[in-house]
Structures are given as structure tokens and as C-alpha cells.
Symmetry: C2
Subunit: 256 residues, 2 copies
Amino acid sequence: MSEQTDAENQNGDNGKITAALLVIGDEILSGRTKDKNIGTIADHLTDVGIQLREVRVVADEEVDIVAAVNALRKENTYLFTTGGIGPTHDDITADCVAKAFNVSIDVDQRAVDVMRAKRPDMELNEARLRMARIPDGADLIENAVSGAPGFMLDNVMVMAGVPSIMQSMLAAVTPRLKTGKKMMSVTLEVKRPEGAVAGPLGRIAETFPDVSMGSYPYYIDGNYGTNLVLRSTDAARLEAAEAALKKELTDTGLID
Amino acid sequence: MSEQTDAENQNGDNGKITAALLVIGDEILSGRTKDKNIGTIADHLTDVGIQLREVRVVADEEVDIVAAVNALRKENTYLFTTGGIGPTHDDITADCVAKAFNVSIDVDQRAVDVMRAKRPDMELNEARLRMARIPDGADLIENAVSGAPGFMLDNVMVMAGVPSIMQSMLAAVTPRLKTGKKMMSVTLEVKRPEGAVAGPLGRIAETFPDVSMGSYPYYIDGNYGTNLVLRSTDAARLEAAEAALKKELTDTGLID
């Protein structure tokens, strides 16, 4: 059976539900494939009140994958992985996760059954049977697109790298997760460079240490501007911080 | 002065020039901003023969940034960072890098001079002077877009997160880097699902252990296909592997 992370780690710091994402694949690091999953997963986790705390991208190398799985699953409530669960020789994620948990892995009849049910005409050759290798003790995660499932072992969710399949798996596994208070946000656009608004923003950030405040400059067609983003799980505090920031920006002549 | 990483680490494993990338910013982890730099930097490093071995994305938290900087700079020839060098209270990358190297940091006259030269009409208020804070012993990296420079400290390149500015800094710093043999690649498209080509590909991969072989499935409009990508720094070996793979795919009836 799998190791259990202790209750404190399961809940992350301050009782928040936290997550890490491990993206696995040489093709992302070489630039050949441009990752499309990080942004999707970040949005989704924010929507359901899980705080994404770290992302790592590693190559298809056993030692790197095992080390990253073990580091990230222990530091967070959940670890999601994408990539490396296809049928080819460089698809080693399932074996690496089994190794990280020190459990055995073999072709899983439940996985074979869902693959046959989804695509009855497909020959289950040796390569395709690789996709049915599931670590001992894991639950399957449905793949509504192409059949071959992902899996959830303890607090680790192993998903495909192909974006449409990953999205199907993420939707399938979310009801099994503990979720947190939804993060709300307010954005104020100021048509001035970041250096002009940093002072006022910093003063309001000091007054509202419980409201996260970020500043995102842009430079378009020769014009500088800055989006100020306030984030909190508490609607009343968010509203108060927004009002205070608007007043500060008005008083300093940065907005009308 | 900065610590020096030893010669072995400077060269990575097997004499390869290696790099890691650290993306810094809450906005990437919340999903608010979709990263555009990972793919650009991956492509660029591949082009100049530097192997990108790992990417991490962390929040604007000192303890996380310092730990990641120290882990990644010691394991790779180079570490690139993006984000967190603007004028606001959450821009703490320069201070964190100084802390990671245990060197002091202060407003740097060279940085003030280039900022004044680039934008003579801009008031250098307290917030903007934050952008001139450079760790002791670092060299500046030119920012042709908006003036405020990045910096290079030992083997760590600290760059902006705004893509246009990052690209300007990456171009400026590349001539100072050791670069390696350029990686070449060949792609073969097979209009069959990955599970059908995995066997033949695996056999050729065993015959050519020095040529990296990846398999990238796609699923478009109900049709499965797979791109097979061979990569090597040795043109003759790449050509031999391509010929062997084409023969194997032809012999097994997967391509004409």
C-alpha cells in the first residue's frame, strides 16, 4: 500500500488546500511543444479554491521524476502530474510514481476493461497495454476522450499531457478532491506605468495584509499601463481594500 | 563576492551546457497571467545548444524563491529567472537572489544611469529606484524596451517577466554565455495512433541509444496521428536513425 502523508501536509499551511503541478516531458523543455496545461490547471484550481503553490517541468528521466514526485506530494495537499502516460518507451510516469510510493505496478484489469469498452476495435498490443499499467492501490481517473485512464494514488493525480485528455481527466477527478473557499479578485486598470502606481499600491497593501495585491504592467503600442489585482476569499475585505485603493489612486491624481 | 559554483557543476553532466528556468510570480500560479516565456526560452536555448533541464514556477515568497535559486543554480551551468524585478512591493527577486548568494544589495549607480538615459523625463521616485537595486558583484543586462536592467550574478541571469522585455534581455545576455553543439531534429508524421507506432519506435530507440526519440500523439477531428521526433547533435547519427526508423515503419506497413 501507499505511504500516507500526514494530516498536516494533507492540509498544507494555514489549513489551506494547496497543490503542485509536475509537467513531465522532454518536448516541453526542448521547446518543441508549448505547454497548454499549466494555465488551464491554474485557472481550474483557483476556481475551486485550491491554491497552486508550485509548478515544475522535468524531462523523461526516472531520477528527476521520482525526486520531484516525492518532494511535491509531501509539501502539498495534492500533486497533479501531466504527461508520460502514453504507450511509448519514454512514457515512464506511472512506473516512476509507483517507485516514488514504493508500490508494485502491473497491467490493471480495470484499465484494460475501460480501454476495450471505449474502443472495441482497437488491438491491445504490447505498447497499448503499457497504458493499462497502474500502480497498486491507485484508483482510475476516467479518460472520456481516448479511453486509456489516468489514476489517483494517495494525493497524487496522474493525467495525460494531451490537453483535451488532460481536461477530461481533471474534470473527472475534481469531485473527489477537497476544495476550499473560492478566491475572488478585483482588477483596477491604471493608464500609468507601474513605477507611478507602486507607491500608492504598497501603502494599501500594508493596510490590508490579508488581501493579496499584485501589479501587472503592460506596454502596448508605446503606452504604459498597469493592472492592479486584489485577491481574497473574504468578500467584505476585498470590497474594503478596493475602496481604499481607489481613494488612494484618486487622491494622488492617478485615476479620475 | 558571490560564491563560485565548482567546475563540474558549471558544465552540468557529460560536459553538456545545461540550464534551469525559474518563473517567479503569483499571477502565473493563480492563472491570471498565462506564461509566455517558458516556450520562448526553451526554443532559444535549444537553438544555441544549451539544454534546458528543468523549469519551476514559484510564488512571490522569499523562502520559496531563495530555496529554488540555490537548488537550481548549483545543479546547472546556468539559471535564468523571469519576473519579480519591477517597482512594486511584491517584486522581491533581486533581494532574494542577493540573499541566496549571501551578498549585499543596494541602488546601483550604473542602473540609475541607464534608466535616466533611456527615459530622461521619468521621475525616479522611490518605487522606480527599487528597479535599480542590484546585488553586489552583478553585471547589468540591458533592457532595450523600458530601461530598467536585469542582471547576471555568477551563473544566474535575472530577467523581467514582461515577454517583450524578457526577450530583449535574453538577446542581450546570450553572447556572454557558453553555448554548446546545436541540437538537430527530424520529425516523421505517421497517420496512426501512438499505440500502433510505439513498438517500432521502441526497437529503433534501443538500436540508437545516443539519439533522443520522442513520440507526440495528436487527435484532431476524430483522427489519431503521431509525430515522431528524433534529436541529436550528430548529423550522421541522426540521418542513420531516421533511415532505420523509416525502414521499420515501412516494413511494418505503418507508412508507405
